[in-house]
C-alpha cells in the first residue's frame, strides 16, 4: 500500500519546480514546459501571472549578481498608487424591522375571550383548584405546569392565594373587565380559598401587571403597601429577559411580599379577637384592655401562688409546732446497779476530732483506759 502511494507521488514531485531544481540545472529551453494546464488555470482566475526565471537570471544567480529573495528585504516595490480591482462596495447596514402595526381594535380582547378567564374557578383534572388562568395558551405546557405548581404551593403555605390571569404583551383588556370590577364580580370564585390577590400579568411586559387584593386584606393593609408589593415584584421580573422567567420572578417576589402582609393580618386578627372577648362595660380605657387583662391575670395567679405558699408555710409551721409539743414517754426499766453507780453506767461513746482527714469511725475511742486519770 505504501509502495503504491509513493509511486503515485513520484511523477508529481519530479514535475514540480522544486523537483526540477533538485533534479539538476535548469536547461532553459522551455521554462513553461510541463505547466500548460496551470497557466490556463491562472489566467482563468483573473490574477496576474507569477514572475518567471529567465536564462540570464539563472546565469546571474550562478555568478552571484542576483541574490534570491533580495527584494523581500529591500525597499517596498509595491506601487502605492495601485488599486485593487474590483473596488470594495459598501453594503447597506441591517435595519431593525419596523414593528408590525396592528389595529388597536385588534389588540382589545373580545368578550368571548375574556369570558374564558372568568366562567368558573379553574380546576385541574384531579379537581384541585388551579390559580392560573391562561385560556389563550400563552405558556407552553411545561411552563403552565410549573407556574400552576408554584401557585398551588403558595396556596398551601400561605393564607393569601394568588389568582393569576395571563395576557399577551400588547393585549388590551376591555373596560368591563377592569381588575377592580372583575374582583368584585368574580371574587366569589375563590371565596372558599380565603383572602385572594388577583393579578393581571402581561407576558413580556411585567410593568403592565395589575394587582387587586380582596376586601379583608384591603381593610388592614394600606394601599401604598399594596403598591409597594406590586412594584417590588415588577422590578424583580425585569431582572430576567425571558418572558417565562420574568413571570417566575414576579410571582416569587409577590409571594414573599404576601408573607409579610399575612403576618400583619394575623396580628390584626389577634387584636380583634382580644377586643371582642372583652366585655364593653368592663373596660374604661379600651386601648389598654390587653394590659389590664394581663395585669388582672397576673394578679390572680400571684394571689393564688401567694395563698398556696402561705398555706404551705402555715402547714410547715403547724407541723413543726406539733412536733415540738409532742411528748415522748418511755417505759420504766428496772435496772440493777452496776459498778455501785447510782444513776448511770456503761461505756457510752467517745469520739476524737484530732485529725480532719480521718472519718469519725476511724477516730472512735474504744481502747481501755487502765491508767489512772486525774482532773486538773
Amino acid at each position: 500500500m505504501r509502495l503504491g502511494f509513493c509511486l503515485f507521488l513520484f511523477p508529481l514531485v519530479v514535475q514540480s519546480p522544486l523537483g526540477a531544481q533538485s533534479a539538476g540545472p535548469f536547461d532553459g529551453t522551455n521554462p513553461d514546459s510541463g505547466q500548460p494546464g496551470a497557466s490556463r488555470e491562472k489566467l482563468s482566475s483573473g490574477l496576474p501571472e507569477l514572475p518567471v526565471w529567465s536564462p540570464s537570471d539563472y546565469e546571474g544567480v550562478k555568478k552571484g549578481e542576483i541574490v534570491a529573495g533580495e527584494n523581500f528585504f529591500g525597499q517596498a516595490t509595491v506601487d502605492p498608487e495601485a488599486t485593487i480591482e474590483p473596488s470594495v462596495v459598501d453594503l447597506p447596514e441591517d435595519v431593525e424591522p419596523q414593528p408590525e402595526r396592528l389595529d388597536p381594535n385588534e389588540l382589545v380582547l373580545s368578550s368571548e375571550q375574556m369570558a374564558g378567564y372568568f366562567h368558573s374557578a379553574p380546576e385541574d383534572p384531579l379537581g384541585e383548584v388551579v390559580f392560573l388562568k391562561d385560556p389563550q395558551d400563552l405558556l407552553s405546557q411545561q411552563e403552565f405546569r410549573d407556574c400552576a405548581s408554584f401557585l398551588s404551593y403558595h396556596s398551601k403555605e400561605s393564607e393569601i392565594n394568588i389568582v393569576l390571569y395571563l395576557f399577551d404583551e400588547r393585549q388590551e383588556i376591555p373596560e368591563e373587565y377592569n381588575i377592580e370590577k372583575v374582583h368584585q364580580l368574580y371574587g366569589g370564585l375563590f371565596k372558599d380559598s380565603g383572602p385572594v390577590v388577583s393579578v393581571y400579568f402581561h407576558l413580556g411586559a411585567p410593568d403592565r401587571a395589575q394587582l387587586m387584593m380582596s376586601s379583608e386584606i384591603r381593610a388592614v393593609i394600606p394601599q401604598d403597601e399594596q403598591e409597594r408589593a406590586l412594584r417590588a415584584a415588577i422590578v424583580e421580573a425585569f431582572e430576567k429577559t425571558d418572558e417565562a422567567l420574568q413571570l417566575d420572578s414576579f410571582l416569587g417576589e409577590l409571594s414573599t411580599r404576601l408573607y409579610w402582609i399575612e403576618r400583619e393580618l394575623e396580628i390584626a386578627g389577634l387584636q380583634e379577637k382580644t377586643a371582642r372577648v372583652q366585655p364593653v362595660e368592663d373596660f374604661e380605657v379600651p386601648e389598654g384592655s390587653l394590659e389590664v387583662d394581663n395585669l388582672w391575670g397576673a394578679a390572680r395567679a400571684g394571689l393564688i401562688l401567694l395563698v398556696g405558699l402561705g398555706g404551705l408555710v402555715v402547714g410547715v409551721f403547724a407541723w413543726r409546732w406539733s412536733l415540738r409539743q409532742r411528748k415522748y414517754h418511755f417505759p420504766e426499766v428496772d435496772d440493777e446497779r452496776v459498778f455501785g453507780a447510782p444513776h448511770a453506767a456503761g461505756a457510752g461513746a467517745v469520739v476524737t476530732f484530732v485529725d480532719p482527714h480521718l472519718p469519725p469511725s476511724r477516730q472512735r475511742h474504744q481502747e481501755a483506759e487502765l491508767e489512772r486519770w486525774s482532773d486538773s
Partner: protein, 214 residues
C-alpha cells in the same frame, strides 16, 4: 453493758468490772465522792458566747418538753492530762446535781454530752433508764454527725447536731416502745380472758392422770 475503763462487757449485776475491777469508787477517788452542783449547760472551758449559751439552753429546754422523763446535759471542759472522757462522763452523771432539772427527772433519765475541748474528744453517757433505748452505736452516730463541727470548733452547732440526732433516735424508740407496750398489753388481755393454753396442758395432764389411773 461495757466497763467505762476497759470497755469489756460485764454482767448487768456486777458490782465491779471482772476484767479491771473498775467501780465508781475509782472515779470517786479521782473526782470526789460528793455530789457536784451544775447546770445542764456548763461551759467550764469558756468556749461559748452568751448568745450561743442562750440558744443552747433553749434547745435543752425544748428537749425536756418533748421528753418529760429525760433531760440532756452538756459539759464543756478542758483537761490537761491524758483524757479519759468516758470515765469522767460516767462520774459526772452519777455525782452531778443538775440545778435546772426538776426532781421528777432523776439522773437515770439523763444524757450527758461531755466535750474535752483541749483533748479534742467528745463523749455521750446515758442513765440507766435509757439503756435499752440509746445504744452505744446510736450515741456514736450522733457524735459522728457532729464531727465536722467539732473539727472546726463550732461548739454550738456541734451540740445542736448531737441534740437533734439524739432526739430523733429517742423519739423513734419511744414510738416503738409504746407500740410494743400496747401489743404486750393486748396480748396479756387476750391471754387473761382465755386460758385455753393452760386448759390444754391440764387436759393433757388429766388425760395422763386418767391413763395412769387406769
Amino acid at each position: 453493758m461495757k466497763c467505762p475503763r476497759c470497755v469489756q462487757r460485764v454482767h448487768s449485776m456486777a458490782r465491779e468490772c471482772p476484767h479491771c475491777a473498775f467501780s465508781i469508787r475509782d472515779v470517786d477517788r479521782v473526782f470526789g465522792q460528793d455530789d457536784v452542783r451544775l447546770r445542764t449547760l456548763t461551759d467550764a472551758a469558756g468556749v461559748l458566747r452568751r448568745k450561743e449559751r442562750i440558744a443552747l439552753r433553749g434547745r435543752l429546754d425544748q428537749f425536756q418538753q418533748n421528753f418529760p422523763q429525760l433531760f440532756f446535759g452538756i459539759y464543756f471542759g478542758s483537761f490537761r492530762e491524758t483524757p479519759s472522757l468516758r470515765q469522767f462522763g460516767f462520774w459526772l452523771l452519777n455525782r452531778g446535781a443538775f440545778e435546772d432539772v426538776d426532781v421528777s427527772r432523776p439522773n437515770e433519765g439523763g444524757i450527758l454530752l461531755s466535750v474535752d475541748v483541749g483533748g479534742k474528744s467528745a463523749g455521750i453517757t446515758s442513765g440507766y433508764a435509757l439503756g435499752p433505748f440509746l445504744s452505744e452505736d446510736a450515741a456514736f452516730g450522733a457524735l459522728s454527725g457532729a464531727h465536722p463541727y467539732f473539727l472546726e470548733g463550732q461548739w454550738l452547732r456541734a451540740s445542736e447536731s448531737v441534740l437533734s440526732r439524739v432526739t430523733k433516735v429517742l423519739a423513734k424508740q419511744s414510738r416503738r416502745a409504746e407500740r410494743e407496750a400496747n401489743e404486750l398489753r393486748a396480748h396479756r388481755e387476750n391471754t387473761g380472758s382465755s386460758d385455753g393454753g393452760l386448759r390444754g396442758l391440764r387436759e393433757h395432764h388429766k388425760g395422763g392422770r386418767k391413763k395412769s389411773e387406769a
